[in-house]
């Protein structure tokens, strides 16, 4: 029976805000309901692709679209989607003892063969627990039996999955496009051969990029630091190396992505032009963990764009990467795309632009359809600190770029900065104020007839969070008191009617700092916080700092233990994981940062970070 014909289903939808989050039925959503469930149980794999945040966030994520398309190509696999319910739906389900179900067929999570969680940010961890629990799946991998689904995780923050390790049966490091179908095939084999859960997990421990937490033991020193992490099963490799798609141009891009019926955060078609980054900004985790830099060819992208335009009807096309202006054929690509997008009133959006590489002639072409504001990320207010973080942009370049932008009609400027970076002083914070004033002065000195009428500058700051697999993984995170002081200092300096100042909260930044460099002991903390009410913590309005503070009392030293600076030789909780960049290289970058020495980008010179061993992308001998 069609679930929309059931009064109880309609009553549920009428009880919540934005019911379209839960109904499915979008364009290109896969519907295998009529034939999949008639297949032999042992020959099919039912996979729940889960995103631990609301629908509108999850459906903005390209990885979800990629994996959904890849897995559903196989007739014997049915990949369905499931997102975290908002508070109202969660309450409705809990009050009535109803399970969390998938969008496509309404199947409870506990009935799937495999449940895959996409981990994009640390503050989504409690939503993972909520989804598992609401879905009827035991939280701890060790408590699951043969009837329970295999629960796996993937996504950018799995480079240190240790705080969540006890909740997952398996964790994928790196790119998922090739690894996930291999895991599915292994699962089919498990079902055919009636392997036990344990036998299955041991059998997949050899798949490149796959980490089975239960096959490793963590030893701690008396003070709580990690002493060592070692495999306890011969099938588990001592170090798990991330999975890498070597030829991005051949990697699948969804040509018929699911087009949400309701508005989502990034409501546009997306083409990933680059993966990885050559720049080496020392605070940026993605910049190191996605190395080496790989490109898609212009031909592939133009061909894909044509299909996406035909198949989606979106009003905007985003060229996605960590640094889009680094794409080697950007001008040619944009000039090839504009004749496709302009007649259909499609706005071409290029996020992640670098100030030093920005070509205004190109920008003017793009802005013919809709002129958005310009966004730049200097990250730090002084040259000294920009050298420390290896953000190689000079003040002169910024002022020149701003002048060109103003003369070309732009009048909205958004600037991103970080507060609390290693070695930061009051002078550096004041440097942000000085830089913003200089940018405004550029505007003021231009003849009125040569620029727009009114300037609007938005200064957006976030607090620096030391992340694993970056040169700053050894750094100390500043305290909430220090955060407050820096923020006040900046707010006082930025008082100007043309400037608006936005920031993130101290407590959530501190928690992210704790979780991102955390160890397995934090699993109990995450569970305690969730049990006492923490949920959807990335949402400012839902974040409850006191719950986390209480839960962190389970750890001697609390949050301070995790936000502290690390000893040079200290064993990290992620020491058994390998993203390609060597510890020695990161250590040398950490040392150079303290001396304010910069490192050239991979375009200029190979710094032998370790990723050259992948022999892929930009690394020597592979691309000219």
């Amino acid at each position: 029976m069609n679930r929309f014909d059931q009064p109880s289903y309609r009553a549920m939808l009428r009880s919540v805000r934005k019911p379209a989050r839960y109904t499915g039925g979008e364009l290109h959503a896969v519907d295998k309901n009529r034939f999949f469930f008639k297949k032999d149980q042992d020959l099919r794999v039912h996979f729940a692709l889960c995103f631990p945040d609301l629908y509108e966030i999850g459906m903005s994520n390209l990885a979800i679209q990629i994996l959904y398309a890849i897995l559903n190509r196989d007739d014997d696999t049915y990949c369905e989607r499931c997102f975290a319910p908002d508070f109202d739906m969660r309450g409705y389900l809990r009050e009535r003892g109803l399970p969390l179900t998938s969008l496509e067929s309404g199947t409870p999570l506990s009935d799937f063969d495999m449940v895959g969680m996409s981990l994009q940010y640390e503050l989504s961890y409690t939503a993972v627990l909520e989804m598992l629990d609401l879905g009827g799946i035991p939280l701890l991998a060790a408590k699951r039996d043969e009837a329970d689904p295999i629960v796996i995780a993937g996504g950018p923050i799995t480079c240190n999955p240790e705080p969540m390790a006890p909740f997952f049966d398996a964790i994928l490091l790196g790119d998922g496009e090739e690894a996930l179908p291999e895991i599915i095939e292994a699962l089919k084999s498990k079902k055919r051969n009636a392997l036990t859960r344990r036998e299955f997990l041991t059998s997949i421990a050899g798949i490149e990029g796959l980490y089975i937490p239960s096959l490793y033991d963590v030893a701690y020193l008396e003070d709580g630091r990690v002493k060592g992490i070692h495999p306890i099963d011969p099938a588990a490799p001592p170090r798990v190396k991330k999975r890498l798609v070597r030829d991005l141009d051949r990697a699948s891009m969804p040509l018929e992505p699911v087009v949400p019926n309701m508005e989502v955060i990034h409501d546009r078609m997306v083409m990933e032009v680059l993966r990885g980054c050559a720049r080496g900004c020392r605070f940026c985790q993605a910049g190191f963990t996605y190395r080496p830099l790989r490109e898609r060819s212009q031909e592939t992208l133009v061909r894909t764009a044509g299909r996406l335009i035909e198949n989606t009807g979106y009003e905007e096309m985003g060229l996605l990467s960590l640094s889009t202006t680094d794409y080697s054929q950007l001008e040619d690509l944009v000039l090839a795309l504009l004749p496709m997008t302009e007649p259909r009133h499609i706005n071409l959006s290029l996020p992640s632009l670098r100030l030093d590489a920005f070509d205004f002639n190109l920008a003017k072409e793009i802005a013919k359809t809709r002129r958005a504001g310009l966004t730049f990320a200097p990250e730090a207010g002084t040259q000294r600190l920009r050298d420390v973080i290896n953000k190689n942009i000079s003040e002169e370049e910024m002022l020149d770029a701003a002048e060109t932008a103003f003369l070309n009609g732009w009048d909205r400027l958004k600037l991103y900065f970080m507060l609390g970076l290693p070695t930061e002083t009051d002078q550096d914070v004041n440097g942000i104020v000085t830089l913003v004033r200089k940018l405004i002065a550029v505007w003021d000195h231009l003849p009125r007839e040569s620029r727009s009428k009114r300037l609007k500058v938005t200064v957006s700051t976030s607090f620096f969070i030391p992340k694993p697999f970056t040169p700053f993984q050894w750094a100390q995170q500043i305290t909430p008191d220090e955060m407050a002081a820096k923020q006040e200092q900046l707010a006082a300096g930025l008082r100007d009617r043309r400037v608006s100042f936005t920031w993130n909260t101290f407590e959530s930044a501190r928690l992210e700092g704790v979780l991102s460099r955390g160890d397995r002991r934090l699993a109990a903390v995450i569970r305690r916080a969730w049990e006492t009410g923490a949920y959807l913590d990335a949402w400012h309005e839902h974040f409850q700092a006191d719950l986390w503070q209480d839960a962190l009392e389970l750890i001697p030293g609390g949050a301070d233990f995790y936000t502290r600076g690390r000893q040079p030789q200290e064993v990290f909780p992620w020491e058994h994981l390998d993203v390609g960049v060597s510890r020695d290289y990161l250590q040398s970058e950490w040392n150079k940062s303290k001396k304010g020495e910069v490192t050239p980008s991979c375009y200029d010179r190979c710094s032998a970070c370790g990723c050259q061993d992948f022999k892929a992308g930009l690394c020597p001998g592979v691309l000219p």
């Binding site: 069609n2 929309f4 014909d5 059931q6 009064p7 109880s8 289903y9 309609r10 009553a11 939808l13 009428r14 009880s15 934005k18 019911p19 379209a20 109904t23 499915g24 039925g25 979008e26 364009l27 959503a29 519907d31 087009v259 019926n261 309701m262 508005e263 035909e310 198949n311 989606t312 009807g313 979106y314 009003e315 259909r344 009133h345 809709r370």
Partner: protein, 226 residues
């Protein structure tokens, strides 16, 4: 050159019935784009949009069977043939949405929204027949409508033009629609709970189908559309 106006009638079912009005607008914009209809665009340079007008926004949870919306075609649309384009359009919708017919509107005709007068509904819920009979027994049926933080008393009896109880669990009615005297179905269900003894759970689980929207007879000799 005058822009051609094409009046379309659409139905929405299942998941599509749970979309908010802005989502429906976006859904049609994208579907028409995919189907390559030569739409006219507003001249607003900052945020241009295709010219699409819905006759009567459908509330969340209301299925439709013959709701009107109108599109304006760009000047190059003079030779546009809607019959063939309709097939293309119906292939481009997500599941549950379909255009069932079209008419050309006189270019001088009033706007579509201004022409909406009434709507026909079929409601199904456990006990809705007797709840309706008890509630609409001849006297006024007052409920409070909240609008822009104001609480406005409304007599629903004046907004129900005709009705037929089709059984204990089914009801058909015609009510006012459009800018004046609009019958809101959520308020009607609330009244049936308050005055007719309809269980709240039954009201929440009700099936609401808008069978038709009635327009006034201005222009093109179309008369009332049923």
């Amino acid at each position: 050159m005058m822009k051609r106006r094409i009046l379309l009638f659409y139905e929405r079912r299942d998941a599509a019935a749970w979309l908010a009005h802005l989502d429906m607008m976006r859904l049609f914009e994208r579907s028409l784009s995919r189907a390559d209809w030569p739409l006219s665009w507003t001249v607003d340079a900052f945020n241009p949009r295709p010219e699409i007008v819905f006759g009567l926004p459908a509330g969340v949870g209301i299925e439709t069977r013959k709701d009107p919306l109108e599109v304006r075609l760009a000047p190059e649309g003079q030779l546009f043939e809607p019959d063939a384009a309709l097939l293309r359009l119906n292939l481009s919708f997500p599941a549950g949405v379909r255009v069932t017919g079209w008419q050309e509107t006189d270019s001088g005709s009033p706007s579509l929204m201004a022409r909406v007068r009434a709507a026909q509904y079929r409601l199904e819920a456990e006990g809705i027949g007797s709840a309706f009979s008890r509630t609409f027994a001849g006297g006024p049926v007052e409920v409070v409508q909240e609008r822009k933080k104001r609480r406005i008393p409304v007599d629903l009896a004046t907004r129900v033009f005709s009705s037929q109880v089709l059984g204990e669990n089914c009801l058909s009615l015609m009510g006012g629609a459009g800018s004046t005297g609009h019958l809101r179905i959520d308020l009607l269900l609330e009244a049936l709970v308050l005055y007719g003894g309809l269980r709240r759970e039954a009201a929440q689980g009700a099936s609401v189908v808008r069978l038709a929207v009635f327009l006034d007879g201005h222009g093109a000799g179309q008369g009332i559309i049923t």
